[in-house]
Subunit: 409 residues, 2 copies
């Protein structure tokens, strides 16, 4: 059961001028499910992406990076679920390229203008015949208001499609930002999440887009973790079709630039948080803030140690205020000269630990009250500086084990 | 259900001349369970220890380090279960010292000659009145052949007591090495495990003992992980009562030195592996070997990434040869310039991956056959050097979640 998340209402997902989406059932792994998504972009669109830091990155990730680096205008995205085309060696690269060639022929563009994405089981051969056979149906389905179907078409073990959309005024124009994501497990993105796409029609100078993609990822997908497993296929793409009727944005340091940038980041954060809310087996949405660090890096060490501790995660699943486990995680996070006698710990509004020990005033029933909530904030103070960071995670439940023990069955 | 582990037969645990053990029920946390263990050491014994690297180390760990550093002969160990006396601030330190003072009075020694150990729930006040009240019963129970009871007396969520013992000839003397350990969860020891004690009557030069403790920990407790959580209380102690009738061992580079050293390490390895076999919810004992690394450090990075991946661990629980998860873990382990196209993967005798991709000859049923075993070896080749490492871990099952969601209830 996702935590305070519901399927997006298709009416709430504003089409982005210049973006068309088609979804089909290609039987990549299972029959009768939407597993093939084609996105076409109008001429003049700018595209940027950030990708997994996993050294064992999937074939489509390698092809995406190559095509983006080539500098040719990207005109289409091709996404399949059911098969990650990772751990597939040279053969996997050829197969990913073959799908780009097939889609490019249909669209009369060059293969380098296609970005391929795959998600699903690792180390199995990508069935390109089925993908090629599914392309005509996906192309016949191309329309501007297909975002909800696309959100469904990229799911794996997600229980709900994930999408977000908003509009902002830029000059006299109304600019749209709409995006979709998928996640569920193997989620500790490193520069991006499993799959995330955010498109806008804002007329953003192409040179600004890669920086925006990085900033948006750092504020959103790079702040979430479910199980600490960084996927082989993480990809996050920001698209600007540049069709909105306003003066080109050439700097973020203007009212128009700020408005668009904030909208893109807000949509990215909503999509990233949706991944945690629908994390495999999640029953709680947990915000972890570590403050008082010397730099953000050490705050992140402590926050990830808490977020990845199976003991912390199972205690939250059980609504058990066994909060010493949080202290233990901070202790082994790798901050070498940490003084344990300065640590403070709050659980929402409840001040649990002061100067490294349990506060005499702390009462277990207060911790218990907070632990029973579905949304909880853990706040740790290191009292050694002014840096801080925040990330989002979920608990570890029986369902996580069930889902991952059964994923391929 | 522990993996190929049974309770030790008390008759197999050779007493160590110079060591006496008494166990009592003190009601530290629960009534009617053995939770207080006293170990006394004959005059002239040498003691060395290695302790958790967790910055949030428990009060007894801090006292142990202080007492060992003081250089006074250690004459007694005091171990309680049910309460870890961690995250307890200044008050916890005073309480740990108070228990040392109480035991020292009974034994007519100095408090600095006592090493205190606590294991159990974090962040709760140590009930020193109950421990003090339990001391007379523990002291009345002191005897040489109480190792099996002591192994029981230090358990927390362990389902079985853990002990190992062996004898070796040194000159004309028969030297004994006997030890006990406890573990279960919060196990990724860093220089030691939750609690491990190995005693020998070998006449080891005291100056050699600290090096032996470190080497034995590195070969055993520092090669195991259950959930990646490094405890606040990890302690591993090596005792030499020096009562055996042979020439003093002043170097490991002699037949006698090697025999004793190997026996201490063998007992330590057996105790460490027993912790994994009885890991919380464990159904499989997994040996991970990473070879072909440039140095051991990068082999350890990859091995721990595999061992800590919830996705790998749940796949092993399910006996599902979803082996791409192992490649993904190697990929995000943090070896920056790893070439994925060189990776090899064996599962026991089955060669699964070559040059980063699935071998054409690999058949799923071969992987399935190995995955169904209760003992499995994962062997990863990095093909970039000659370094290697091995560690031991277990799977992640529903019972792990159940145990840790219910631990305090």
């Amino acid at each position: 059961m996702p935590v305070n998340l519901s399927a997006p209402n298709p009416q709430d997902l504003h089409p982005v001028p210049g973006v068309q989406i088609g979804v089909a059932m290609a039987g990549v792994r299972k029959a009768n499910r939407r597993d093939l998504t084609v996105v076409t972009l109008a001429e003049g669109s700018a595209v940027a992406g950030v990708f997994t830091k996993n050294r064992f990155c999937a074939a489509p990730v390698q092809i995406c990076q190559k095509h983006l680096a080539a500098g040719t205008d990207i005109r289409a995205l091709l996404v399949n679920t059911g098969n990650a085309n990772a751990g597939t060696g040279e053969d996997g690269l050829v197969r990913a390229q073959t799908t780009c060639i097939a889609l490019a022929r249909h669209l009369d563009i060059a293969p380098e203008q296609v970005l391929p994405f795959s998600t699903g089981v690792i180390m199995e051969t990508l069935p390109i015949d089925r993908i090629q056979a599914g392309l005509p149906a996906a192309l016949a389905d191309l329309k501007a208001d297909n975002w909800a179907l696309a959100a469904e078409g990229i799911m794996t073990t997600d229980t709900l499609p994930k999408a977000a959309s908003r509009q902002v005024k830029v000059g006299n124009a109304t600019v749209t930002v709409t995006g979709i994501s998928k996640g569920a497990g193997m989620i500790k993105p490193n520069m991006a999440t499993m799959l995330g796409y955010v498109a806008t029609d804002a007329k953003i100078a192409p040179a600004l887009l890669q920086g925006l993609a990085k900033d948006a990822a750092d504020a959103s997908f790079n702040r979430i973790t479910i199980d600490g497993d960084t996927s082989t296929n993480d990809s996050f793409v920001v698209i600007a079709t540049r069709q909105a009727d306003h003066a080109e944005i050439t700097s973020w340091d203007s009212p128009e630039g700020r408005a668009v940038r904030e909208a893109v980041i807000a949509v990215s954060v909503q999509l990233a948080q949706a991944i945690v809310r629908d994390g495999e087996g999640a029953t709680k949405f947990i915000t972890i803030t570590v403050e008082g660090g010397r730099d953000e890096a050490e705050c992140r060490l402590a926050a990830y140690a808490i977020a990845h501790s199976p003991l912390v995660k199972t205690a939250f699943f059980a609504s058990d205020p066994n909060l010493g486990r949080i202290l233990a995680a901070v202790g082994y996070a790798g901050i070498d000269d940490l003084d344990q006698n300065l640590i403070e710990l709050h659980l929402d509004d409840v001040h649990v630990v002061t100067k490294g020990g349990r506060r005499p005033e702390y009462r277990e029933e207060d911790g218990q009250r907070v632990m029973k909530q579905s949304e909880i904030t853990i706040r740790v103070g290191l009292a050694r500086g002014t840096a801080a960071t925040t990330l989002w995670t979920c608990d570890l439940s029986h369902d996580y084990v069930t889902i991952n023990a059964d994923y391929r069955s």
